[in-house]
């Protein structure tokens, strides 16, 4: 495959990324490429709004009861923080006071019998719902972190430092290694990142990682980019080292 054909293939991948139909590993790869290729970036910027517009066709009729129930639930949830009054409901049937009283008695009788049976069902359902909500919230947090990371890597204003196997990217307080084609690791070894704080004389150990099969890895370093003078990468035994034990793959000052 020649370079032009390869680039056409990359433009196809960029379109799939704009649609949001790439697996996470491919998306990271495309994100790295977008950061360095103006043509692909322009293609992404042109296609993404068109892809977003596709969602607009999904409007679905919602039956009146469901719609009212959903709205009631939602408004009840935001009520404590809403600072504006909603207009009171208008119209509706006006009940006489005796009819209201009779209805209340019947309702109370039926409710008492049903309450006993429903209470245990409700408790079980609430436990199950609570567990599911916890799982959904955890997954959302993970995915939001991942999206934030991709947004940092993709940002036009991020600082990028080219290293032998990719880039070190710094945006705000965040710093990342976005590496491709890393040499395969010997058995029992991992890559380890190192940070040198401003004014420090020795490096501090940071995260260890293993790239994917094609040698790519995107890693966020748990450090404040603004406080760092340099970062480095070495190959270390599994579990990491307290001080570098091999020649650095790269050392990159952060200006």
């Amino acid at each position: 495959m020649n370079g032009a054909t390869e680039h056409e293939g990359m433009l196809d991948l960029v379109a799939v990324a704009a649609l949001g139909a790439l697996p996470a590993a491919d998306l990271r790869f495309v994100t790295l490429h977008l950061a360095a290729c103006a043509e692909c970036r322009a293609e992404y910027d042109a296609l993404r709004p068109a892809a977003d517009a596709v969602g607009l066709i999904a409007e679905e009729p919602v039956d009146t009861l469901r719609s009212a129930r959903m709205k009631k639930r939602l408004l009840a949830a935001i009520a404590p923080t809403a600072n504006a009054r909603r207009a009171p409901a208008s119209g509706g049937l006006i009940w006489s006071s005796s009819l209201v009283a009779a209805a209340a008695v019947v309702f109370a009788l039926v409710s008492t019998v049903q309450d006993i049976r429903l209470r245990s069902d409700l408790a079980n359902a609430q436990r199950a719902t609570s567990q599911l909500q916890t799982r959904v919230a955890e997954t959302q947090r993970t995915n939001e972190n991942e999206r934030d990371m991709l947004a940092d890597l993709f940002a036009a204003k991020a600082k990028r430092y080219t290293v032998a196997d990719g880039e070190v990217v710094a945006r705000g307080s965040h710093v990342y290694f976005a590496l491709r084609a890393l040499p395969a690791l010997p058995k029992g070894k991992v890559y380890q990142a190192w940070t040198l704080a401003k004014g420090a004389k020795t490096v501090a150990p940071s995260v260890t990682f293993t790239p994917n099969a094609s040698g790519s890895a995107v890693v966020q370093l748990p450090a404040d980019a603004a406080a760092l003078a340099a970062v480095a990468l070495t190959v270390e035994p599994e579990g990491g080292s307290k001080a570098p034990t091999s020649k650095p793959t790269f050392i990159q000052p952060l200006s």
Partner: protein, 185 residues
């Protein structure tokens, strides 16, 4: 419906300005206008009305608690993408599908949205999509609403992966041209 939808889509960004100030009435109107869209996406992706209802609740609570997440552009397209990404989260968290089949997405639009599309509505998008041949429209709709990756689209349709990618790109480019024409008319 087309006429009603057009009014709806134009109001979203303006309503969000009031929602940012904590205006519950504006939020209620926003919900009235857009809950069918959010519910529709969740229902298509999750295939379960109760889950779609919960997701709709979740998306609108997020809009209320983090209104600054929407910055500008087409509110309908933005909230559609939010609903889609939350649906993908649910597919992952409930193991409703193999993890490798579920796509990832870049940050939600708002910074990436194109101001020229602010006036778009569902009718215009439907018309523009209808101009694409089935072979391009189908993978685009599967990719957006199916909650599956391009590899999975290729597997399910029996069409080579390279062809699927090219059709998605060609289709999106045509769609972009059609939508550009629609908003400038």
């Amino acid at each position: 419906m087309g006429r009603e939808a057009r009014v709806v889509m134009e109001d979203g960004a303006r309503l969000m300005e009031r929602v940012r100030a904590g205006d519950g009435t504006a939020f209620e109107r926003l919900y009235d206008s857009y809950h069918r869209l959010v519910f529709g996406i969740a229902l298509r992706m999750l295939g379960d009305a109760t889950m779609a209802e919960d997701l709709t609740q979740n998306v609108f609570l997020k809009v209320w608690s983090s209104p600054d997440a929407f910055r500008d552009g087409n509110f309908g397209a933005w909230i559609a993408r939010v609903a889609r990404n939350r649906s993908l989260d649910v597919l992952r968290s409930r193991s409703l599908r193999d993890e490798s089949e579920i796509p990832a997405d870049l940050a939600e639009p708002g910074t990436l949205d194109d101001a020229v599309f602010t006036r778009l509505d569902s009718q215009r998008v439907r018309s523009a999509l209808a101009t694409l041949p089935d072979e391009q429209r189908s993978p685009i709709e599967m990719g957006f609403f199916g909650g599956i990756t391009h590899d999975e689209i290729a597997k399910r349709t029996g069409i080579p992966l390279g062809t699927i990618k090219t059709r998605i790109r060609t289709g999106l480019r045509k769609l972009r041209v059609e939508l550009d024409g629609a908003v400038s008319r």
